[in-house]
C-alpha cells in the first residue's frame, strides 16, 4: 500500500505505524521479543548501565513490569486506587522463602503456584470487606494493609523477623545441578561503535546461579510476555468491559447489569495473583527476603509506574515501570536523589499530565476509524483501490 503511494511520487508519512495486518503484528512482536531477550548480551553502550549489572537491572525492570501490569488491572482497568500492592508482592516472596528455605525445602517451581494462590487468596480476603468503601478511603485501607504485612513480617520470628529469611535457593537449572548449562552464550563488548564477541563473559543456558542475572531476566521476561497475552485476552472480553464500565461510572454500570462488586473483587484477585508472581521471582533472584524490601515507598513506586504510564494502558505502564527502575540506575550519580526526584515527578505528573505519558487509550477499532480518516485525507485524488480496503463501518 505505502509502496504504491511512494512510487506515485507522494512523500510517505514519516512516522512509524504499527502494521495493521495480523501477520505484520506477529512478525513485529517476534522481532521485539528477540531483541529484548538478547538485550543483556548485546551490551549496547548507550543503553547499558555503567555502574550496575545490566542483566540485574533488566531483571528488576521485568519484575516491575509484571507488577505494573498487575496493578494496572486494579488501578487502570477497574479504577481502584491500591496503595498497598507491595503486600501481595511480599506474600509471594515470603511464601517462596518460607517453603524453600526457612521451613521447608520444596523445589522452586512447585512453590511458585502455592505462592501465587496464597497471594490471590489474600487479595480476595482484603477485597471482600474493603471494596465497599469509597475511593480515597480505599487507598488508605490498602496502604494500611501493606504496612500491616510488613510489620507482621518484622515482628514474626518464624518469618525471620527484621533480618528476614536468607539462603533462598535459586530455581532448578536445566539440566539440574549443572555448572555450565546446556550451552554458553557469549556477550558482546564494544569498542566505541565496534562490537566484538567476548568469549570470557558468557551466560550459561540455563543455569540459575548467584552471579549471572541474565537467566533470571529471561525467566521474568517470559512471564511478562505471558502476562501480556493473558491481559490482552481478558481485557477484550466481557470481563475487561465490565471493569472499564465500573471504573467509568459504577452506578450506571450496576444499572446496566454489571455486578460491580464481583468484578472489583475479581480485579483485586487477579492483581494480587500477578503481584505474588512478581514477588516469587524476586525472591528467587535475591536469595533472601527481608522486610526492608517491602517498604511503603515500593507501593508508591508501583503506583507511580502505573500513573506515569497512563492508567489502563498496558504498554504505558510497562514503560512507566522501566522508567522507574532504569532511570535511577542509568544515572547513578543521582541515586541519592532518587526519591526526591520521584516525589517531584509524581507531583508534576499529577498536575500537568494525569492521564500519563502516552496518549490516551484508543481501541483497535477507534484506530481503524482514524486510519480510515487518514486514508480519506490522503487518497482523495487517487485511484479507487483504497475503497475495497476500508474496514466496514
Amino acid at each position: 500500500m505505502s509502496a504504491v503511494k511512494a512510487t506515485l511520487g507522494r512523500v510517505p508519512r514519516p512516522h512509524f505505524k504499527v502494521p495493521d495486518s495480523r501477520r505484520g503484528k506477529i512478525i513485529l512482536g517476534i522481532l521485539a521479543a528477540a531483541f529484548f531477550y538478547a538485550l543483556p548480551l548485546l551490551n549496547i553502550p548507550i543503553i547499558t548501565t555503567p555502574d550496575s549489572d545490566f542483566g540485574g537491572v533488566l531483571f528488576t525492570v521485568a519484575i516491575y513490569a509484571i507488577v505494573a501490569l498487575g496493578l494496572n488491572i486494579v488501578v487502570g482497568y477497574a479504577g481502584l486506587l491500591d496503595l498497598g500492592y507491595v503486600g501481595f508482592y511480599a506474600i509471594g516472596a515470603y511464601t517462596v522463602a518460607v517453603l524453600t528455605s526457612a521451613h521447608g525445602s520444596l523445589p522452586y517451581f512447585l512453590v511458585v503456584p502455592i505462592a501465587v494462590v496464597l497471594a490471590m487468596i489474600s487479595g480476595v480476603l482484603l477485597g471482600a470487606p474493603t471494596l465497599r468503601v469509597r475511593g480515597d478511603y480505599l487507598a488508605i485501607v490498602t496502604l494500611g494493609f501493606g504496612e500491616i504485612i510488613r510489620l507482621t513480617a518484622v515482628n514474626s520470628d518464624w518469618l525471620g523477623g527484621a533480618r528476614g529469611i536468607s539462603k533462598v535457593p535459586p530455581p532448578t537449572s536445566i539440566p539440574p545441578e549443572t555448572t555450565d548449562g546446556l550451552f554458553q552464550i557469549p556477550h558482546l563488548v564494544w569498542d566505541g561503535a565496534i562490537p566484538s564477541i567476548d568469549y570470557d563473559t558468557t551466560t550459561k543456558f540455563l543455569k540459575f546461579g548467584v552471579l549471572d542475572a541474565v537467566p533470571y531476566y529471561w525467566l521474568a521476561l517470559t512471564v511478562v510476555i505471558i502476562v501480556l497475552f493473558a491481559d490482552t485476552l481478558i481485557k477484550d472480553s466481557r470481563v475487561g468491559r465490565a471493569w472499564e464500565a465500573t471504573r467509568e461510572d459504577e452506578d450506571a454500570a450496576e444499572i446496566m447489569g454489571v455486578p460491580t462488586f464481583r468484578y472489583k473483587l475479581l480485579a483485586f484477585a487477579m492483581g494480587a495473583f500477578v503481584g505474588g508472581l512478581a514477588g516469587s521471582l524476586f525472591a528467587a533472584r535475591q536469595g533472601f527476603v527481608s522486610p526492608q524490601s517491602f517498604q511503603l515507598l515500593l507501593s508508591m513506586l508501583f503506583v507511580a509506574a502505573v500513573v506515569v504510564g497512563g492508567q489502563g494502558n498496558r504498554w504505558g505502564v510497562i514503560i512507566g515501570a522501566a522508567l522507574v527502575v532504569y532511570l535511577p540506575e542509568r544515572f547513578r550519580g543521582f541515586a541519592d536523589f532518587r526519591v526526591l526526584i520521584f516525589g517531584m515527578a509524581l507531583m508534576l505528573l499529577a498536575i500537568y499530565r494525569p492521564q500519563g505519558i502516552l496518549p490516551p487509550r484508543r481501541t483497535r477499532r477507534a484506530k481503524a476509524i482514524e486510519a480510515e480518516l487518514e486514508a480519506l485525507e490522503e487518497g482523495v485524488d487517487e485511484e479507487q483501490p483504497e475503497l475495497e480496503h476500508r474496514p466496514n463501518a
Binding site: 464500565a245 450506571a252 450496576e254 444499572i255 490516551p360 477507534a366
Partner: protein, 280 residues
C-alpha cells in the same frame, strides 16, 4: 438489513417462557409510599404498566416522577408498599439483579461510559446475559467466542435500530448530544429488557429531533418492548403514549388514555399554565 423484529426473549431459568399476554400488567406499583427526612415524596401511589404499551409518567416539577421512577427501577426502596415486576418484588434486589430480571433504563443526565466506544457501551449492556468469565476468556473457548460474537452482532443491530450505526467506533464522549441519547437507548435495549424505562429522553432536543425520537420509541414498542416514559414535553407525551399516569405532590391524580387525561380538570389545574415546550 438486520432483523429488528425479534421480540425480547426471556433469559433466566424459572421465568415464563413466553412474554405475558398483551395488556397484562408486568410492573405493578402497589401503594408505594416513600418518605425521606420528613418529606413524603410518594404517597400511596398505585398503578401498573401493561405488556406492549407505552406508558407516560408525567406531573409538574417536584411531583415525584423521578422518585417513582427510581422506586420502579429498584434504585430507591419504598417506605411502605412495593413495586413488583412480573410478580417478583423489587425490594431488596441488587440493581444488577433488577436489570437481569428485565428492567432497563436510561438516565436523564446521560451516563454513558465516556472513554469507551459506542459499540463497547452497548456491548456492556449485552454482556448482562453472558455466562463466560475470566478463564474462558483467557482460553478463548468456543463458547466464549460465540458469546462475544453474539453480543457484538447484537450491539451492531441495536446501533442500527437507533440510527447511529456509523458511529460504532467513536468514543461515547465524542458523540453529539442527540447521538448520545440514542446510544443510551441502544445500551439499555442490549440488556434484553422486558420493560424499557426512558427518563426524559427528549431533554435538550429540538422539535425535529423530538419527532424522530417519537418514531424511534414507537418502533421500539412495535418490536415488542414495553416502554415507560417520563417526559415534560406534553406534545411528545400525548403523541407517543398509549396511557398516561399523572402525579402531583407525590400522589397519583389521574390515569388513562392521553385524550382523557388532557381533559381532566385536576391535571389541568396541576399544570396551570402551559409548558414552554408545548408552545414551541
Amino acid at each position: 438489513m438486520p432483523d429488528v423484529t425479534k421480540a425480547p426473549a426471556p433469559a433466566q431459568p424459572g421465568e415464563p417462557s413466553e412474554a405475558p399476554a398483551l395488556g397484562a400488567p408486568i410492573l405493578e406499583v402497589d401503594n408505594v409510599t416513600l418518605k425521606f427526612g420528613g418529606v413524603t415524596a410518594l404517597d400511596g401511589v398505585t398503578f401498573d404498566i401493561r405488556q406492549g404499551e407505552i406508558l407516560g409518567l408525567i406531573g409538574p416539577n417536584g411531583a415525584g416522577k423521578t422518585t417513582c421512577f427510581n422506586v420502579m427501577t429498584g434504585v430507591y426502596k419504598p417506605t411502605s408498599g412495593e413495586a413488583r415486576f412480573r410478580g417478583t418484588s423489587l425490594a431488596g434486589l441488587k440493581r444488577f439483579q433488577i436489570t437481569r430480571l428485565g428492567i432497563a433504563r436510561t438516565f436523564q443526565n446521560i451516563r454513558l461510559f465516556k472513554s469507551m466506544t459506542a459499540l463497547e457501551n452497548v456491548m456492556v449492556g449485552g454482556d448482562v446475559h453472558s455466562t463466560t468469565g475470566v478463564l474462558r476468556a483467557l482460553f478463548r473457548t468456543p463458547r466464549q467466542r460465540q458469546e462475544q460474537k453474539k453480543v457484538e452482532d447484537r450491539a451492531h443491530e441495536l446501533l442500527e435500530l437507533v440510527g447511529i450505526a456509523s458511529r460504532a467506533n467513536e468514543l461515547a464522549a465524542n458523540l453529539s448530544y442527540g447521538d448520545q441519547r440514542r446510544l443510551e437507548i441502544a445500551r439499555a435495549l442490549a440488556t434484553d429488557p422486558k420493560l424499557l424505562c426512558l427518563d426524559e429522553p427528549a431533554a435538550g432536543f429540538n422539535p425535529a429531533e423530538k419527532a424522530k425520537l417519537m418514531e424511534l420509541i414507537k418502533k421500539v414498542r412495535d418490536t415488542g418492548y414495553t416502554v415507560l416514559l417520563i417526559e415534560h414535553d406534553m406534545r411528545l407525551v400525548m403523541g407517543v403514549t398509549d396511557r398516561i399516569v399523572v402525579l402531583e405532590f407525590g400522589r397519583k391524580i389521574a390515569e388513562g388514555k392521553p385524550a382523557e387525561v388532557r381533559e381532566n380538570p385536576a391535571v389541568i389545574a396541576a399544570y396551570l399554565g402551559v409548558d414552554d415546550d408545548d408552545a414551541a
